[in-house]
């Protein structure tokens, strides 16, 4: 049997925030592994620490304790600028509010992460066109975010996330701000990326319909990762409503 080593290793991660004199623990000793090619959904109630965990995995936040390894590299040991370079190369980001730059059109938004690579203008343009074609927006390249629907903006954001061919894609509530139909399209797109291109996707969501597209679901509650039985139960609970 072939053993695929995990692409992301989350080892004993803890994080707390200080609110005045109070220390509020957000993540408590979290350990789990994500294999290469996985499509994982992190679920849990609001405030349970999903975003914090995702940010730590993606290298835009740091844990108080513990280690994150991505493709064997301990990213918690990197300096800020090393981490920035690492993100540029290895992580594609999809946010709830798309976070496109409003003064740049779709093509330029997708081009943004490529500016940090050594690609020529022509190569960048080609990469962008491919990415926009993948998300089905090749005909909207010169539209500005304000001229696109929420679903279309999120697709541009996904194109921006995949254009550098990153090691992992992280998505924080990618359908959280979308109507049901657009949400479905986005989820189908992510699923296709995972199935067809073998992209590792780590997605935070509290939308059960979205989570259903993922292969694995992790359930986070008050900063603790619940075991699978409970997830199953909770997940079913969610789907009922």
């Amino acid at each position: 049997m072939e053993v695929t080593p995990p692409i992301v290793e989350i080892i004993d991660i803890s994080k707390s925030y200080r609110r005045g004199s109070q220390v509020v623990p957000v993540l408590k000793n979290i350990t789990f592994f994500i294999p290469q090619g996985e499509f994982i959904a992190l679920m849990g109630p609001s405030g349970s620490g999903k975003t914090t965990l995702l940010n730590i995995i993606a290298g835009i936040d740091r844990p108080d304790n513990g280690t994150i390894k991505v493709a064997g590299l301990d990213i918690t040991a990197l300096s800020e600028s090393e981490l920035a370079d690492w993100r540029a190369e290895h992580v594609g980001f999809v946010f709830q509010f798309y976070n496109l730059i409003p003064v740049l059109n779709a093509l330029e938004n997708v081009e943004l992460p490529l500016l940090l690579t050594g690609l020529s203008k022509k190569q960048r343009r080609e990469h962008c066109e491919v990415a926009l074609r993948v998300v089905g927006l090749a005909d909207r390249m010169d539209h500005y975010p304000g001229e696109l629907s929420g679903g279309q903006q999120q697709r541009v954001a996904i194109a921006r996330a995949i254009v550098t061919d990153p090691t992992i894609i992280v998505a924080d509530e990618p359908t959280g701000d979308l109507d049901r139909k657009s949400a479905e399209e986005i989820m189908e797109l992510l699923e296709r990326l995972n199935l067809e291109s073998g992209k590792t996707i780590i997605m935070v969501t509290h939308d059960p319909r979205a989570a259903k597209k993922a292969r694995t679901i992790k359930y986070l509650d008050k900063g603790v990762l619940n075991n699978d039985v409970l997830i199953e139960a909770a997940y079913k609970e969610c789907l009922k409503t």
Binding site: I60, W86, R87, F95, I101, V103, L116
Partner: protein
């Protein structure tokens, strides 16, 4: 290219705010240029004064006269090439507010010593011949629409009476630093009348203009002249024309200082205005900067975005201000007429205007850059909702 595009589009995001900021930079730079030009104009007399000209005046005071008889003695001094003299006449043309400097003098030597006052040969000849004639600078003539042959009456203040002169020439400056607002005439004309009416005042003049053979001799010759009259009734004080002019200028030192202070205050104000605008933009875009950082853009690039936007606003504003300062200076010159004789914007002032815009752009973005770069990504992203 991409960056420039982004910078310009960012700057144009709040068109009204950017427009108002650019406008205030423009107005401030305009004010700065005009103030500097006024200050320059003030010193222009000093700048153009020749280093081979000395002024000998009464050691007691500028307003005390010197006997005409000194002239021959000064001419004998070693190192002296030519001697002329002048009198501040202080005549009023129709009304006090029409002020312009009018001098009586020995016009032949005067024109020899001051080659920068240019007359046509015919005008010069006629002027030298006719005792009652006078010449006026081009600007002065324009102001009162005088032309050759006009009769001008000056009301004497220091020398009572109605004095009539005939304009025999309009002089032009050899270059634009030359004061074209002066009025010169033959002192003989006045002196002859004084001999009849106020004989004690006759045969006295205001100051001697001494041309020396070489600039290095200025100190020695001054010393020789002054020591010659040490034991006379009227002792003399001789100095270079430059020092003499500076003496005038320093009387107004406090005004100049006030003007300089105002121009620096103006700079401080634009600094505050620009800093405020950049600060507002940065605050609004803290989420966007977080996105840039998330994508791997480093602090230098984020700082560059903020600084670039600041510099675009200040340089566009300052260029606008500089462009506007030319017509403004023209209008100003029209208005003040002959009060400030030499008034034009120097290359230095323009460079200063641009330099200020760069400095202001830099200073205004320091705090926003600090904030933009140092805000943690996670915190920046939380602002986007």
């Amino acid at each position: 290219m991409f960056l420039l595009k982004l910078l310009i589009r960012n700057a144009l995001r709040h068109k009204l705010r950017t427009f108002l900021t650019v406008l205030s930079v423009a107005v401030a730079v305009l004010a700065y240029c005009l103030l500097q030009t006024v200050i320059d104009a003030w010193y222009s007399g000093v700048r153009i004064s020749s280093s081979t000209r000395l002024i000998t005046r009464n050691a007691g005071s500028l307003i005390l006269p010197l006997p005409m008889s000194y002239r021959e003695k000064i001419r004998q001094v070693d190192g002296v090439k030519n001697v002329s003299f002048g009198v501040f006449f202080g005549g009023v043309y129709i009304d006090e507010k029409n002020f312009f400097p009018n001098f009586g003098g020995e016009v032949k030597t005067f024109l020899e010593i001051y080659p920068e006052y240019v007359l046509t040969p015919e005008d010069k000849e006629e002027f030298l011949k006719d005792k009652r004639s006078a010449i006026a600078g081009q600007k002065l003539a324009n102001q009162f629409s005088w032309k050759k042959g006009d009769k001008i009456i000056l009301k004497g203040t220091i020398y009572p009476g109605q004095w009539e002169f005939v304009i025999k020439g309009i002089y032009k400056g050899r270059d634009r630093n030359v004061d074209e607002t002066r009025f010169f005439f033959h002192w003989d004309y006045i002196n002859e009348q004084l001999k009849k009416m106020q004989s004690t005042r006759a045969d006295h003049i205001g100051f001697y203009i001494v041309e020396i053979t070489a600039p290095e001799l200025a100190a020695v010759v001054s010393e020789r002249i002054d020591s010659m009259f040490k034991n006379s009734i009227a002792q003399t004080h001789t100095e270079t024309e430059k020092a003499f002019q500076l003496g005038f200028v320093s009387m107004s030192d406090s005004i100049i200082m006030a003007l300089s202070a105002v121009s620096y205050i103006v700079i401080m104000i634009i600094l505050a205005v620009v800093a405020n605008t950049i600060n507002m933009s940065t605050r609004e875009r803290i989420g966007e900067y977080a996105v840039f950082k998330t994508l791997g853009f480093g602090g230098l690039k984020i700082g560059g975005l903020i600084l670039g936007e600041s510099l675009i606003i200040t340089t566009v504003g300052s260029m606008l201000g500089i462009v506007l300062s030319f017509p403004a200076a023209e209008a100003f010159k029209e208005k003040v007429g002959t009060t400030i004789p030499v008034f034009y914007i120097t290359g230095n002032t323009i460079l200063e205007g641009l330099f200020i815009s760069v400095i202001v752009g830099l200073l205004a973005s320091i705090i926003p850059i600090y904030r933009g770069v140092r805000t943690p990504i996670v915190e920046g992203l939380r602002r986007i909702v």
